[in-house]
C-alpha cells in the first residue's frame, strides 16, 4: 500500500474526517508540548531572545521534507498525488503580512490560538473570537476583493520547477538553509538574552 492513503482509497470521506480529527489532536498536542500554547513564548521570537518557534517549525519542515523525499524514493509515497497548494503571489504576500501583523499583535497564529484556547487561556479565546470576526468580514466583503484574491495565479509550482534545480539538490539546500537558520537562532538568543523577562 502506497501513500497518500486517502487518494489511494484506503478510507472514504467519513473515515478521512476521523483521521483528520486524530491528526489535528496530535498536532495540537505537540504544539502545546513545545510551548506553543503560550503567547509569551510565541511573541518571544519577535524580541529575539527565544527562537523556539522558529526552530521547531523549521525542524518540522525538514523532517517532513526528508521523510517524504526518502519514502517517495523508496516507492512508498506517490509525490505527484500529494496536494500542492496553488500559488497566488500577491494575495498570498498580502495574506502573509496580515497574518504576521496579527501574530505580532496578538501573540498567536490561528493554529496556536486553538491550542491556547483548548488549554483554557483567555487570550487564546479572545484571539479565536478575532478569527471568527475576521472570517465573517472576509466572507461579507469577498465580492469586493475577489479579483485580487484570484490575481497573479502561478499554479501549483514547486522550488525545483521554478529554479530548474534537481529535486534532491533543493532538498539538500533547504537542509543547509535550516542548519544555517538554527545556528543564526542560537547566536540571536545569546545576543538578546539580556532582555529575557525573569
Amino acid at each position: 500500500m502506497s501513500a497518500p492513503l486517502f487518494k489511494y482509497g484506503l478510507f472514504g470521506d467519513n473515515m478521512g474526517l476521523v483521521v483528520a480529527f486524530g491528526i489535528g489532536i496530535g498536532f495540537g498536542f505537540f504544539l502545546e508540548r513545545a510551548g506553543f500554547g503560550s503567547g509569551r513564548k510565541l511573541a518571544a521570537q519577535f524580541y529575539g531572545y527565544d527562537l523556539t518557534v522558529f526552530k521547531v517549525m523549521f525542524t518540522a519542515i525538514i523532517t517532513a521534507m526528508l521523510g517524504l523525499y526518502y519514502l517517495s524514493v523508496l516507492g512508498l509515497v506517490d509525490l505527484s498525488l500529494v496536494y500542492v497548494s496553488p500559488t497566488y503571489l500577491l494575495p498570498q504576500i498580502a495574506g502573509g503580512l496580515l497574518l504576521g501583523f496579527g501574530f505580532v499583535i496578538g501573540g498567536y497564529c490561528p493554529g496556536t490560538s486553538c491550542v491556547a484556547a483548548a488549554t483554557g487561556r483567555i487570550d487564546g479565546f479572545v484571539y479565536l473570537c478575532g478569527i471568527v470576526v475576521g472570517i465573517f468580514v472576509f466572507g461579507e466583503s469577498f465580492s469586493l476583493i475577489e479579483a485580487f484574491y484570484n490575481s497573479s495565479s502561478m499554479g501549483s509550482i514547486t522550488l525545483p520547477a521554478v529554479t530548474g534545480l534537481s529535486y534532491g539538490l533543493v532538498v539538500f539546500l533547504v537542509v543547509l538553509m535550516a542548519l544555517g537558520g538554527f545556528w543564526f537562532a542560537g547566536r540571536a538568543e545569546k545576543k538578546w538574552a539580556h532582555i529575557r523577562p525573569e
Binding site: S80, L81, Y83, P86, N150, S156, G168, V171
Partner: protein, 220 residues
C-alpha cells in the same frame, strides 16, 4: 569518531543526521516516478468490462448544468475541430499533446472525441501514465449530439413519458440544441447543424474549465 561525537549535544547529532540525509538526497535525484510504468492488466480489463471508465452524455450534461467544478472536461480532437464546436467548458488537449499536458493525476478527467476511439486511446495513454481518475464520454460527440443537442422525441408521447421528455427538452435548450421529431431521415437535414457555442443563460454555474481556476480548499 565516536569519541568526537560523544562530546556533541543531541541537537548537534540530529543536525548532523539531517545534513547527512540532505547530502544523500542529491544522489537519487527526482523522487517523481518517471515515464516507465507497469500496468495491471487485470484491473484495466475489469474497468473496461464493467464500463466504470464511462460517463454518459446525460450524466455529463447534468454535471455541466449543476456547475460542478470537481472535474476537467478534455476535448482530445484537433484544435480546428475544437474551434468549430466543443462542449461547454471543455479544454482542448489533442491526443498528441497529452504526454506533455499539465494534468494532475489526482484530477478527475473526462475525455471525449468525435466518436470515442480517440478518447479511448487517450484514456489508455493516461492509464499508462498512472492516471486513475480519467473517464470517457460514452459515444463521444456523436452521442452527445444524438442525446443532448438533437434528441429524437416521439410525436405522440405517452402520458408517462411527459416528465422525462420535458427534462430532455430543457437540457437540450440549455445547450442550444433543437429536439428532433419525425422520421429518421430528418437527421441529415440542415436543422441538425451543431449550434454555435454560447454560454446559456439558464445554467446555475460555470464548469471549472470555463470559469477559471478555483482555489481548492485543501491543505493547511
Amino acid at each position: 569518531m565516536m569519541k568526537l561525537l560523544s562530546g556533541w549535544t543531541w541537537t548537534q547529532k540530529c543536525a548532523l543526521i539531517a545534513l547527512a540525509l540532505g547530502v544523500g538526497a542529491v544522489l537519487p535525484g527526482s523522487p517523481y516516478r518517471g515515464t516507465r510504468v507497469s500496468l495491471d492488466m487485470k484491473e484495466l480489463g475489469l474497468i473496461v468490462q464493467n464500463e466504470t471508465d464511462h460517463i454518459s452524455a446525460p450524466e455529463l450534461a447534468d454535471w455541466i448544468i449543476q456547475g460542478r467544478a470537481d472535474y476537467r472536461l478534455i476535448d482530445v480532437r484537433s484544435d480546428a475541430e475544437y474551434n468549430e464546436y466543443h462542449i461547454q467548458g471543455a479544454e482542448s488537449i489533442p491526443v498528441g499533446e497529452l504526454a506533455t499536458a499539465e494534468l494532475g493525476r489526482n484530477e478527475k478527467l473526462v475525455l471525449y472525441s468525435e466518436g470515442g476511439i480517440h478518447a479511448a486511446q487517450a484514456w489508455m495513454l493516461l492509464a499508462g501514465r498512472g492516471f486513475k481518475h480519467s473517464y470517457m464520454l460514452t459515444g463521444g460527440l456523436d452521442e452527445w449530439k444524438d442525446r443532448i443537442l438533437f434528441p429524437r422525441l416521439p410525436e405522440s408521447p405517452l402520458p408517462a413519458q411527459r416528465d422525462s421528455l420535458a427534462r430532455v427538452k430543457s437540457v437540450c435548450a440549455f445547450f442550444g440544441g433543437t429536439p428532433q421529431s419525425g422520421a429518421a431521415e430528418d437527421a441529415l437535414t440542415d436543422s441538425k447543424r451543431v449550434p454555435k457555442l454560447q454560454i446559456p443563460t439558464g445554467g446555475t454555474g460555470t464548469p471549472k474549465a470555463a470559469g477559471g481556476k478555483k482555489k481548492k480548499k485543501e491543505g493547511c
